[in-house]
Amino acid sequence: VDEFGGLHAFSRWDRAMLTDSGGFQMVSLLHLADITEEGVSFQSPSNGQSMMLTPEHSMKIQNKLGADIMMALDDVVSSVNPSYERFEEATHRTTRWFDRCLQAHERPHDQNLFPIVQGGLDYGLRQLSLKQLMERDDRIPGYAIGGLAGGEDKESFWNVVHWCTQALPENKPRYVMGIGYPVDIVVCSALGADMYDCVYPTRTARFGTALVPDGVLRLHLASNENDQRPIDPDCTCMVCKRYKRSYLHRLVNRGDSLGAILLSYHNVHYMMNLMRSIRESIIDQRFPEFVRHFMQRHYPDGPPEWVVCALKAAEIEL
């Protein structure tokens, strides 16, 4: 990639790009990842050889990839690990590894290195992580909130986000990693988060599910067979302008690539439109109204408890 001039040149994408450290993928996708103070040792997926991903190594790779934002290597605790001691160790180690990342980062003027706030679902550990990282604030362009999107309960989820956004500096972006359901994004935005990433919109598109204001539309269901409406009559994307549900139903059913492509197109459009709507309503000072309207469409019978509580904490009454 470096030979080709970096990731932007390689993939012909001249807009913003963010790379992850590789830590999460290793722990979630590979067998026998063993975490020590030095780094994460794992078995190479191509030849089974023992390899080590250290903070220094991750920085080197991300420096060569050349994305605009890069993530520090954090001590990722597997979500099946309930031990407080392990979470505590991970919190401290994440800070130590961030220091090593700062040291190893060779392109601080081209690339923004974000640390990741850890601490599991524990208030004390989260505050500890926040405090330690913010001691380095003068070298930090933005903060990521990690350790969520691992199947934890929604109540804990919004609380952790809330603790972090309350504590983190106002003038730096807050990036909640792995969040992508529209409801989650709206709630986290209300709580003061700014950036998200998720495979959900495009992955669910490949399985025939379209994102709509009311929630989701599963196009492979037989109920769409004779439906002459577009996915969303209010959507202005190319797919909704040209295609009816009945035709898309037939494209997605047998995994024709065009079905996946068209739905991905719509879902990406939906997400971009959602984010734009959030921004515009904030700028226009009508964000609470936007949130109420959004939740009404999504939950005609009333939103779940956690949404109500989270929005209350964000000073929005439903």
């Binding site: 030979e3 080709f4 012909r12 004779n226 009945s246 047998r254 024709d256 996946a260 492509i261």
Partner: protein, 438 residues
């Protein structure tokens, strides 16, 4: 009806004729049977021939959304398979939408749509199964693979689809069999094909007549006649195992259909005949068919050389299934279109196998000077290799864009060679370069 209304009828007839697709020969090569022409649809969309049709799945290209397809400026037409529109609930759409509306082609689409039953890519006619024995109500049917499994499609079912879809051109049904089938089976195939052609001619005749009758016709029939108003008939004939039979078969078809049809489809090739037989058959049939009608051929006319050789025999429109074959194999078509004119040192490459490790570090675009989106944007061989290794769909999208564009440029080059009188020379030099077995 008095004399006054007869004049009206003639004028209406002329107006109707203009509403149908038209074909006109422009240049005839003096040394071969190749020619250039212009095909015009009822919506005044034109395409210069010879050209190739973009293959589709359920009406759309495999990996290209229509906005991407339109950017390939030389892409002029789509091949649509009726068999893609049968599923467990039967045929769709059941009405209310033409094919153009269904697949998003819209009124202003620059694409010509040609519709046949079978899929040239998959050969989804069940060649081993006999056609279904005729029952009184249904008539003979063709056995075709569709998403509903084995489907028996009768002439009526097929024409029902055509009436709903309203493509610019529609083939009549043909019975295709292996060329080494028994004599009896082959002659049955030819007879059925002629019978189906007769039925198609009758359908189109009836539609034309109904239109003139105006208010006298019941609503249902009027709708039918409206449906076929802008559709051009392409009369199918099947190649058989002897030249004599081919000649007679073509003659019958010419007699039967030349008034109604705008072109002829030579089907049944690519079914175990020899190469030399294939071209002999094409030439023999070409001589019997009226010059003013275009020739479409399908079946083992896929590689660039085969296409060139078919055009030499007088073929005007072909399928471009080769584009799909290369794309799905992760290959890019890069052969030099005009070696005499170029000084390109990479001119020896014909296809690139992008799965190969030789491209890991290759920072070149697929083909120097290519103006397709993939090459203009600077996507490198190394990147596409990487996409293939990662099993990313984008690899196929980028390759299909490039391969389709390259194929269409090929046709443009062929047309210019015919127009300028350099076709035979081009063909010979192409044969020398690519046919290692000659």
């Amino acid at each position: 009806r008095g004399i006054g209304s007869e004049n009206e009828l003639t004028m209406e007839k002329r107006a109707m004729a203009r509403r149908k697709p038209q074909f006109k020969v422009v240049t005839e090569d003096t040394k071969t049977s190749a020619r250039t022409g212009v095909l015009t649809t009822s919506r005044d969309v034109t395409a210069d021939t010879p050209f190739g049709l973009v293959m589709t799945r359920k009406g759309l290209p495999n990996y290209l959304t229509l906005d991407n397809l339109y950017k390939i400026s030389e892409a002029k037409g789509l091949h649509v398979c009726a068999s893609h529109f049968f599923d467990r609930k039967g045929m769709y759409p059941k009405g209310g939408a033409t094919l153009n509306e269904l697949v998003g082609l819209q009124e202003t689409s620059p694409m010509i749509v040609l519709c046949g039953l079978r899929d040239p890519l998959k050969y989804n006619i069940n060649l081993y199964a006999n056609t279904k024995k005729p029952s009184k109500s249904e008539g003979e049917s063709l056995s075709v693979d569709s998403e509903a499994g084995v489907t028996y499609v009768s002439h009526e079912m097929y024409m029902n689809f055509v009436k709903h879809a309203q493509p610019d051109l529609c083939l009549s049904l043909s019975d295709e069999v292996f060329q080494n089938s028994g004599k009896k089976r082959i002659s049955k195939a030819m007879q059925r094909t002629i019978d189906w052609l007769g039925k198609s001619v009758a359908d189109f005749d009836a539609a034309a007549a109904d239109t003139f009758e105006g208010e006298r016709v019941a609503d249902g029939a009027k709708q039918d006649s409206d449906a076929l108003e802008s559709v051009g008939l392409v009369a199918s004939i099947v190649a058989s195992s002897t030249i004599e039979e081919n000649v007679n078969h073509a003659k019958s078809a010419a007699t039967l259909a030349s008034d109604n049809a705008v072109g002829y489809a030579i089907m049944g090739l690519g079914l175990r005949e020899s190469d030399s037989f294939k071209y002999e058959a094409l030439r023999a049939m070409n001589r019997e068919l009226p010059k003013s009608h275009f020739r479409y051929a399908s079946g083992s006319i896929t590689t660039p050389l085969e296409i060139l050789q078919a055009i030499e025999c007088g073929i005007d429109i072909v399928d471009t299934s080769f584009v799909h074959e290369l794309t799905s194999a992760g290959m890019a078509m890069v052969f030099d279109l005009d070696p005499d004119a170029s000084t390109d040192s990479e001119a020896d490459d014909i296809n690139l196998n992008l799965w190969s490790d030789e491209y890991v570090h290759d920072q070149r675009i697929l083909k120097a000077g290519c103006e397709c989106y993939t090459c203009r944007q600077g996507f490198t061989r190394g990147y596409i290799h990487h996409l293939l290794q990662c099993r990313e769909l984008l690899a196929q999208v980028l390759l299909e864009i490039h391969n389709t564009d390259h194929m269409m440029k090929y046709f443009k080059c062929i047309r210019s060679k015919i127009s300028s009188g350099g076709f035979e020379r081009y063909l010979c030099s192409f044969q020398e370069r690519t046919n290692i077995l000659i």
